[in-house]
């Protein structure tokens, strides 16, 4: 189902967004609208621009054209106000290999600014199954465990807009269920999520839509 093109009053909407990479147009004229409590899945072949679209919405790269609105107002993509609305989890998780799991989570929570206490962090690690590895250096973790650390960070984030790039990569089936739970809780709080993925994530019907990028 293509995303609706009319500008929603609430939530995230974008009109005619286009992005370039190295002087070549990756995509042109993308429209999307996601209301609070809903998730939009970005699907499409490799190189269709899913990552670039997410990075553009995060204000990390500048779109060549288009307009993005948040709750009906122009979202100044490079402003402090905008960046404090969103959480971005990309291919590169931003963990430091030399620091422990707990230290990494603490740094991430400090950046998020959500005033999360040590007890809550420990609980989050418990939830993603890393409690017993809290003191371990991140470089000793497997790829899937590192991704679980990102899940712990997400579960503590109270920011309104989540931009997730392939969050299911390297996750086993248990962890995928967990990701679904965390996303559901986020949507239940009235959050918005854009998720670039090749996999299905189990979310309640009526709260999800799909946007296909790239031709064919």
């Amino acid at each position: 189902m293509p995303a609706s093109t009319d500008i929603a009053a609430q939530g995230l909407s974008a009109r005619a967004v286009g992005c370039e990479r190295g002087g070549r147009a990756l995509f042109e004229s993308i429209d999307l609208a996601v209301s609070p409590g809903a998730a939009l899945f970005l699907v499409g072949p490799n190189g269709s621009g899913k990552t670039t679209l997410l990075r553009a919405l995060a204000g990390l790269t500048e779109p060549a054209a288009g307009e993005v609105r948040w709750n009906g107002r122009d979202a100044a993509l490079r402003s402090a106000v905008w960046r404090m609305q969103l959480t971005y989890a990309g291919h590169k998780p931003g963990h430091k290999d030399e620091l422990s799991v707990a230290e990494n989570l603490e740094l991430a929570c400090d950046l998020d600014g959500g005033q999360v206490g040590a007890a809550e962090r420990a609980q989050a690690l418990q939830r993603v199954g890393l409690a017993r590895r809290a003191a371990l250096q991140v470089k000793r973790l497997s790829q899937g465990q590192k991704q679980r650390l990102t899940l712990a960070r997400l579960s503590l984030s109270r920011r309104k807009l989540w931009l997730l790039d392939e969050p299911t990569a390297a996750l086993d089936s248990d962890a995928r269920v967990l990701l679904g739970d965390i996303l559901r809780a986020h949507l239940a709080r009235g959050g918005v999520a854009l998720v670039a993925t090749h996999d299905r994530i189990d979310l309640p019907a009526g709260q999800t839509a799909e946007l296909r990028l790239g031709g064919a």
Partner: protein, 246 residues
Amino acid sequence: MRWLYRYASPATFYPVAGALAPWFFVAAALLGAAGLYIGLIAAPTDFQQGDAYRIIYIHVPAAWMSMFIYVVMAAYGVLFLSLNTRLSAMMMSALAPTGAMFTFLALWTGALWGRPTWGAYWVWDARLTSELILLFLYLGFMALQAAIEDPRRADRAAALLAIVGVVNVPIIYFSVQWWNTLHQGASVSLTASPKMARIMLTGMLIMSLAAWLYAIGASLLRVRAIILEREAGAEWLQGHVDGKAR
């Protein structure tokens, strides 16, 4: 302001630059010939330095241009970063090789002049040393731009570098002056005294004007090349290229 934005579009500027460049070159050549005539033939021989001094008609304009062009580049950098006009970044890049060329020319003529004056091709004179450092700044600017593939990042990084550089140029210049007086190095000044004959001054000013016009003409041609490279595939450009081919 609107006219500014109109001419700041590469599509508008490309034909304008093409039409203007030859005129600047013609004017530069005419003025250059006049300046050289005054400098090499009409002006009298200096009673101290003989005919060797005549190199100032090249050396001084080149040194002026080398510093001036760097400032202009930084100004284009500020314009680009504040107004996001792509043409400013292109002009900035187009000016760099001309600036480096003038810097090199100033160094080379300075060395040639140094031989009869000081008895050595190179002395650590304050002005020559500053010129040498300026050459490094130009080379760094061009190397940074060449090292970055994405044109957008290249433009932004180069603009930032030019601005940081222009803040530092006076500090470097000042420090080299200080260093030079402290060590009492070569004390013969490369610029002639203010009491120099009016005809010498006239020749130098005319040569400077010629250098100006040449710099403008050369950067216009280069900016056209940059536009061709960057906008390859743009529709408006296709029209120009086809029009010429026909």
